[in-house]
Amino acid sequence: MESRVIFWGINTHQLIMFYMIGTASMLIFLYGAYTHIAKYARGKSLVGPVEFTDRLTRALRDIFSHRTLRRRDNAAGFAHKGIFYGYLFGAIATTLYFIEIDILKPLTGITFVKGKFYLIMSLLLDLGHLALITGIIYMMVRRGLLRPKKLEYVRNYRGETELRPDAKTWKIEDWVFLTTLLLVGLGGFLQEACGLIVDQPAWAAWSPVGYLLAKTFTGLGMSVETAASIRAANWWMHGILALAFTAAIPWYKAKHVISAVGSLFMRDSRPLALLPPEPKDAEKAGISSIADFTWKDMLHLDACTKCGRCHEACPARTAGYPLSPRDFILDLREYNDDAQGCPTSGPPLVGGIIAPETLWACRTCGACQEICPVGIEHPSLIVRMRRHLVEQGTMDPLLRNTITVIGDTGNSFGENSRKRSQWTKALEFRVKDIREEPAETLWFVGDYASFDPRNQKVSQTVARLLKAAREDFALLHEGEKTAGNDVRRVGEEGLYEELVSHNIEQMDGAKPFKRIITTDPHSYNTIKNEYPSFGKVAPIEHYSSVLADLLGQGRLKVKKPLNKRVTFHDPCHLGRLNGGYDAPRKVLELIGCQLIEMPRNRDNSFCCGAGGGRIWIPDTPGTQKPSENRVHEAAALGGIDIFVTCCPKDLTMFEDARKTGGHEKDFVVQDLAELVAEAIELKSIKLQDLPPLADRIVKSVATQIADTVAAKLDAVLANRLASIPAASLAAPVAQLAAAPAAAALAPAAPGSASQAPPVQEAPKKEEAAPSAAPAAKANGADAAVTLPDTPFKPVSWDAISPVTPASFAGYQAPAKNGPRILVTIKHVAKLGDEYGFTSDGRDVRREFMEFSLNEWDDAALEEALRCIEKLGSGEVVAVTVGDADADASLYKVLAKGAHRAVRIWDDSLTNADPITIARALAGVAAAEAPDLIFSGVQSGDQAHGATGTALARILGLPHAAVVVGFDWDGKDAMHLVRELEGGLRHSFDLQAPAVVAIQTGINTPRFATMKMVKQAKQKPLVVVDGKDVQDGSGGYQVRRMYVPQQTKAEMLTGTPSEIAKFIANLIREKKGA
């Protein structure tokens, strides 16, 4: 029967030898496999469960179809397919022979590789081998002659011109791999041909290649004897080469034949779209050393074949930033090849092997992982390493600022949340507030669409389109905070979680709605993929698909097909990460645009460069912006009218790149919605689309009346206050108490002199000033009016009355263990460019203020922390006078390292004078008996520059102000330096305990991540009731607050270039040039 003689002409000795070599080869292979498995075993375990069948089918589909290899390099994919199937058939055949010869036959005498089965196998093997050899030859030609750039290992994006030593060995291994495989293949054919010449079987044609080769050899005059001796010699050569190849698999590039399979199986279904959370109990954030890698991470590293597809696709690398996803992975792998999953004493992984600037270069566009043929998830590694950098505070100062601002205000623009829906003011209709009325659709607007002027126009257009389509929609208005997609990708996981729980809470507490829509692909991505792990969220749609539906259903009717030649940029977060490729194209088709695709489209879309928080990090000088690269690509299409975007950040980036890239004349950049508006001839809203006319009139009249009344009332009150002579402000109380309304408004106290006024006075004032404040939702103090003052104690030189520490009977400080430093902290307010006063005209209304930690106190805290760190023991206690909102600043200082916090509050302390504040602080200080007190020189909002000094005096302690140098050993005198006017410094010594008021510049305060802030919530924060602080010993009473009449600068208006010209002329004139 048809079969093959395996051990042809081999005697027993030789057979034993062969088996010994074979066993050795297997052992080497197995040992290699074992070292890998042992290495993976040292990796961290995975957090979530791994769904098996889905992954298996996906992996098998990917592997057998070679889908991932063919993309964007068809020839290489095809060649690899040949190699793969050739090798696979060879491996299967070898395994079958192994089963037959070494297991079945010795045990049972059965053989099965024979007859028809053998013939078909022969044919397949023969063709497979041919494919393998052809594939390898192509690969060699590609490497040797075609030399695509992506296979180049020189890191010229880092300014290197020479190969690194490691890269030289990579080149060698590439060639060794190809050559051995080629020799194994060729040797196989030679063996077969010689066999056919010697044996001359009837079924020779079933091995067509071998048969043709045999024919050629005999044609060239090869005798049977020659063939036999070649056959004998080549048997060994081929056999040993094949065994050597097998043994070497785990030890070099060839390992990918196994690791890539594992990697493809293990890849996440939505990598990057859904980032892994930090384990709940993690002590530190992210990846800082090899110990933080999961076994899956290590497996991915081992799968890399250096194919360079990610290197080619990466926008950071293309723009000249120091990041190549391939080199990133290879560097990590090299590192782990040495470390084998154990932390080493060598250079640190993050900051040493991988530079921070490499990590910050990433735009988390996902192009690398998307094109990776073996399923490596680069961005996930990068983001997890960023988490570590964020925790360390190693980041661009502007990024750090933005993160702080987002933490403070909930948006990256640092705007008051009140302004979030200000863009709706320009609309002809009112936009519902989902917190008050139910709606079909909740529109999650996002930061750029809310605050960026260009994008606000788009938002207005979208709103009008929705209205025109009679879509019932509402916003969260100021209840919305940034969705956090990019915050998470920056690596600020704590802040991200904070934002998610806020937004989910807002949506939970809102009136019913069925779905969410957004114009922002970033918000879309995180709400769709990541929010569900935090709570229930309604399904979300991107407006591109909403518009496609509305047009498709005829709810928006195209009146004027645009007939424009347009090109379309796929936003990374919509397309690559969420597969939203078709809806925007459908919209363009429906409105009659001719879409000319850019060469890099759909999954190959080239990132605008804004993602992953990069929009908050300035571009490095000397790099091309990815967005410019992109607009050049669009311009090269020729004759394009419009560059269409459907992402607010894209609009911003490309609008800018069009100018800086010099394509202002080539095309315009427009948002999808703007084109739709043009096509349906949306001008303004038809009356019938608006709420009934009567309704609107009633509403607007009501608002007007309310406004007028409030304004009048304000004026009357202000006048009245101004006309009360200062001296009579402390007039006998009885008189005022007779008129309760006035008593509540006038700055004099009802009730007995030493008691703080009862708080229930507050609600009355709202009645007195109807709807003056737009639904004021201030915490703590009433927003409409400040509380009346406590009458002052009379003081004169004959009866001085030193201010005493407030007494907090209930407050007890814990026992001391080591030095104790008290730091005074203030949550300071900042006004935006619009604000209004309380109706008694004595303060700004709360809702116009943004709060943050006072920068002078931040420096004071830093100095205290350094001092305690230097002394080696002790604690830092933060004290503030403030309402519950001030906890935000206290948590910040606790996160930075303060050990405890104390907050003193009573509504009577609202906007109190510095002496009163100092009296309150002194109350806690007296109980704490600290070894040292630090305060800031002044607060950023009121700038009294007096609280620390007053505090010292009330406590009877020595003190110093405006200190820029501090040195203390904890025992002897402190050496201090204060800064005088003009920069002169004054040095002196002071004995502790003392109060030292710190000036900025003395140090650089540390940074607290949101995670640290969250952890800080475990630390003790005690609230002390401050109702007895006001005892009539305050420094001043506020009469009124007002906007000063000032001569203002002549404001120059016009384009930047016009203004620059004006200034240039002015300068030249003044310089007499």
């Binding site: 909002d941 009294h944 007053a950 900025t1000 420094g1035 620059a1060």
Partner: protein, 321 residues
């Protein structure tokens, strides 16, 4: 109980301008408050300084002999208290300076006086003082009163009141103060002069200054180059120095240098805090660029530009290419 007690401030044997300005401020309310204006000079060379504060309108100059001329807030406080007991003034006036910050509120707390700092205007209403100060980054003004207080301590903002003209003929007296514990709190060890520099803001006629609005250290060279091209001296606000981006001599303002002879001052991304304004608000032509239309810098500028400073800078760079 009447009159005004003013604590003079001096450094290296010279009286500070703030003291003379405070005399001006005191004169504006002296009549309404009644009683004399007494200026106290504390120090070793008090007599020499006393001559310098003898401006018209000062009724009495009292010198308090002390060891050493350096400022010690504990000593000044003690002197203020004992002088107060003697003269019983309605108003105790000091400068809102680095020294003032270290003693004014201590004096107030010590006696339980009315108190306000960084006062930019004062008036008298029916025999009592009313003071005006800024609030919320000086975007608004705050008018405060001290009902029931026969003693008020105010710290006056610098460069707000003009120095009165004309020499005076004040009565001279001396006063002995028993320092007690106050002399032991602080040990003076010396002064540290700023290191010499080839940048001199006080001599520059044209200054381009940047503030925190430039956001990033990496942006500095760009502005430095622009200043250079314009032929302007490169200045900055304090946070730029605090962050270590520029050396101290570049700083304009109270704790930096005053742009005394400057003719054109360009402020990019500077909010206009009092201490910065102190160094430049007198300049004839001020051009301020800020994205916040309410930034206080616009209150002193000649020309204001409410715009992103980077956008404008780019155009300026083209203009001066």
């Amino acid at each position: 109980m009447a009159g005004i007690l003013l604590l003079a401030e001096h450094l290296n044997g010279a009286v500070r301008d703030i003291t003379k300005e405070a005399i001006g401020a005191a004169l504006s309310v002296k009549e309404q408050l009644g009683g004399p204006l007494v200026v106290a000079v504390i120090g070793e060379n008090a007599d020499a300084i006393a001559n310098a504060v003898d401006l018209s309108g000062v009724d009495e100059i009292v010198t308090v002999k002390m060891q050493g001329d350096h400022f010690d807030p504990h000593i000044y406080e003690e002197c203020a208290l004992q002088l107060g007991m003697k003269y019983k003034p309605k108003l105790v006036l000091v400068g809102h300076t680095v020294n003032g910050m270290a003693c004014a509120s201590a004096v107030a707390a010590r006696v339980g006086a009315g108190f306000a700092s960084d006062v930019l205007a004062l008036s008298a209403d029916a025999g009592t003082v009313v003071a005006t100060r800024g609030a919320y980054g000086n975007k608004v003004n705050l008018e405060v009163a001290f009902p029931g207080r026969e003693i008020v301590v105010l710290a006056l903002r610098g460069a707000t009141y003009p120095i009165p003209e004309g020499a005076g003929s004040a009565k001279r007296s001396t006063f002995e103060v028993d320092l007690g514990e106050a002399s032991k709190a602080m040990l003076h060890t010396g002064y540290i002069e700023a290191p010499p520099s080839n940048i001199d803001i006080s001599k520059a006629e044209y200054i381009l200054s940047v503030g925190r609005g430039i956001q990033e250290k990496d942006h500095l060279p760009r502005f430095e180059k622009l200043a250079d091209r314009l032929g302007f001296t490169f200045g900055c606000s304090r946070p730029i120095v605090d962050s270590g981006w520029l050396p101290k001599p570049h700083q304009v303002g109270q704790s930096g240098k005053v742009a005394s002879v400057c003719k054109v001052y360009i402020a990019l991304g500077i909010s206009g805090a009092v201490q910065h304004l102190y160094g430049m608000k007198h300049v004839d032509t001020i051009i301020a660029v800020n994205t916040d239309p309410e930034a206080p810098i616009f209150n002193v500028a000649t020309y204001g530009v409410c715009m992103d400073l980077f956008e404008l800078t780019k155009e300026l760079e083209t203009q001066f290419n």
